[in-house]
């Protein structure tokens, strides 16, 4: 059993230490909001925060998490009330939505570090793939969440 702190709660999980955090979240903890898209840190669908930093959970073994605090999409707010979630709804960002947990977690992290991001800041921080191509609305929604005029 390994202790892991996710969304403010410490869980005991029965998983091999080299199990990627992604699969611990999904299969051991039932937190399926974090998605599997590639498994090789390419797409960002599995993006969570570890101690506030956006991290690709598919390439993060359980053993590397230690006592760090993991935040997943489920822990962002209880009622879709985070500014980024609200902006995402207002701009109707998601299409299939499968990449959107990762997009949102990346956007939240960007805004925590850079509250008023420029387009260039967005280009640099948002490296998540969206096969549906929602990028235009992702950009507008980030500006909206930041209170920027898009």
């Amino acid at each position: 059993m390994v202790a892991i702190k996710v969304n403010g709660t410490t869980h005991q999980v029965d998983a091999a230490p080299d199990t990627p955090l992604l699969w611990v979240l999904r299969d051991n903890l039932g937190l399926t909001g974090t998605k599997y898209g590639c498994g090789i840190a390419q797409c960002g669908a599995c993006t969570v925060h570890i101690d506030g930093n956006p991290t690709r959970a598919c390439a993060t073994p359980l053993s590397a998490v230690g006592t760090s605090a993991v935040l997943t999409i489920e822990g962002l707010s209880k009622d879709k009330s985070h500014a980024v979630q609200k902006a995402w709804i207002a701009e109707q960002v998601p299409q299939c939505g499968f990449c959107q947990s990762g997009q949102i977690m990346a956007a939240v992290s960007l805004l925590e570090k850079t509250p008023k991001p420029t387009d260039a800041d967005i280009d640099a921080a948002m490296t998540n793939i969206c096969r549906c191509g929602t990028y235009q609305r992702v950009r507008v929604a980030i500006h909206r969440a930041a209170g920027n005029k898009a």
Partner: protein, 717 residues
Amino acid sequence: MTELNTLSRRDFIAVSAAASGGMAIGFHLPGRAEASTAKGAELNAWVTIGSDDTVTIRVHRSEMGQGSSTAIPQLVAEELECDWSKVRMEFASVMRHIRENKVYVSFATGGSRAIRDSHTYLRKAGATGREMLKMAAAQSWGVPVGELKTEKGFVLHAASNRRASYGSLAEAAAKMTPPAEVKFKPDAEWTIAGKSPARFDVPEKVDGSAIYGMDVKVPGMVHAAIKQAPVFGAKLASVDEAKVKSMPGVLAVVKLPGDGAVAVVAERFWQAKTALDALPIAWNEGDNAKVQQATIVDRLKQGLVEPGAKVRHEGDFDGAFAKAAKKIEAEYFAPFLDHACMEPMNCTAHVKADGVEVWVPTQNIEGSLAAAAEAAGVTPDKVTANLTLLGGGFGRRGRQDYVTQAVHIAKAVGKPVKLIWSREEDIQHGTYRPISMGKLQAGLDEKNELTAYAHKVSGQSIFSHLLPHLVKDGWDASSMDGTYNQAYKMPNCKFDYVMRNSHVPVGFWRSVGSSQNAFITESFMDEVAHAAGKDPVEFRRNLIQHNKSWLNVLNMAAEKGDWGKPLPKGKGRGFAINACFGSITAHVVEVTVSQRGQVKVDRVVVVLDTGHAVHPDNIAAQNEGGVAYALSAMLYGEITIKDGRVEQSNFHDYESILIDQMPKVESYLSLTQGDWWGGVGEPSMAPLMAATCNAIFQVTGKRIRSLPLKHHDLKWA
């Protein structure tokens, strides 16, 4: 809290019915697919109205982000004249559909067909429901139906100043006989359709609560990872099960019928995948292992000099071409492409003594049900098929290969099994956009008028594998769409097809035939215009004078896209137009090409004629997404074959654009209206590759005749 490792303790995921205060998708509970969450009286298979005035509208198409789960209720609600704020949606039951003589017509969600094939019966469901509500009110008030009106969920009788809510009438209305004939409102009177209400599926997609196939949880469920023969058509030679049997969590190694794949089943997915990676597997690869990319391409090239099947021949091409003052000839190439849906293929299945149950992210749940019945060896009435949300489809999820596999694996282990393909399996076992070549010839007379035009396609046919009965006289529409059937006036023309199939499986890829043929046709049209010394838009305009819809789309695109306005050095503008899946689309693309040859697409103006527009903002979203999808394919997309297998394996070598490469997309509608309804998801992206390459030509003088662009040196001075 301890982990949820006791599977029986895992909650069923009902999902989101209560997600955002009122309206949300009511998914069926796993294991209880029959249980509609609608409360109240059912007016017909599509509409149930509760005593609290809640209107449940059922949706028979899959939701993969294209927005049909909102647009379909809009059309029904429009004729029902209910209060949109009281509408909720639920997915229709395919089991009921089968029991009740195909009451939902078709669940197939492809071919940009969700609305264009269903608008009549959807509006009829709403309109007959409305009339039944009026009949119920007329009966209760003792007044003629003709004196009643409906408005926003109420039946009104002006003369007596009475009104009754739909909820109060629903029970009585459900007993009325629906009228045989109903009239539909013209678009100009629409108050719900034609607007852009918030999509039902969006809220649950911002907090991780949306349930895709991959997220299904079933009590007692175990997990499977699969390895399919890397060489298409190869067979399993041997598997050394003993090597992995004692690995953590491993429950079984399952060879799939037909020996084309092997799966490892374990308590958890990562255990299954780890054991699969460690499993020694040998394949009998057969002759297909000798096939190289060049083998396939050479056969296509040979096809270009063969006569082929006649698709459309008019006038005397050979004579006119021989007499032409100017002759333009070119060969084009378009590669295999993978769909690369964001959610890799997956399916959950449970084979029980009395039947089989599946949970599937599919573009055709009716097809899934049939596939599950066949794999389990039961009749269709013994199958419960649950549709989940889809993490992308693009044509790939119309196929049921993963359903068949999941059912076989579940049958072998006797437990519910969730099968998830790795991204590598997903990329290497696609149903690819066919590889294709085109040979084009055009003749111009002394006045630079087009007098002769020929287009021969040599490529793989989707229908010859999937729907052979649709191959007539040696050709099929899936291969030729976007060539012979465009609006251009061509006095002496010929269109021919040479079928060149390979061992690589092919399938419908967003915009299908036009995905390659619009690139080829519209790039060549640009070549001909330049040879004629004419402006490319003006040149096209002259050829489509007779077609008002095309002309309107072309003119609006030219205007909105600032056609003809000067651009600084290093920037160029390109145009392309195409009709497919019932709609007409034009793109004006602006690019910047650095002198070192780096391309940035800056702006795309999309003008679409879909006939009618049910949810304009969603059409805009599809335009934006289609541009991104086509742009990724144009810049990077190719599936190539080495030793009979796919060379690419994941997003590092099958690349997508990221946000920094996303152009600004502007969407406009030019609606013909009338009695035709066109699609959205596919037509909206078809012109992008040609328009972009035409813009690149403006800057560099280099004509792009093969894709992807990454293989071209676009340096200019």
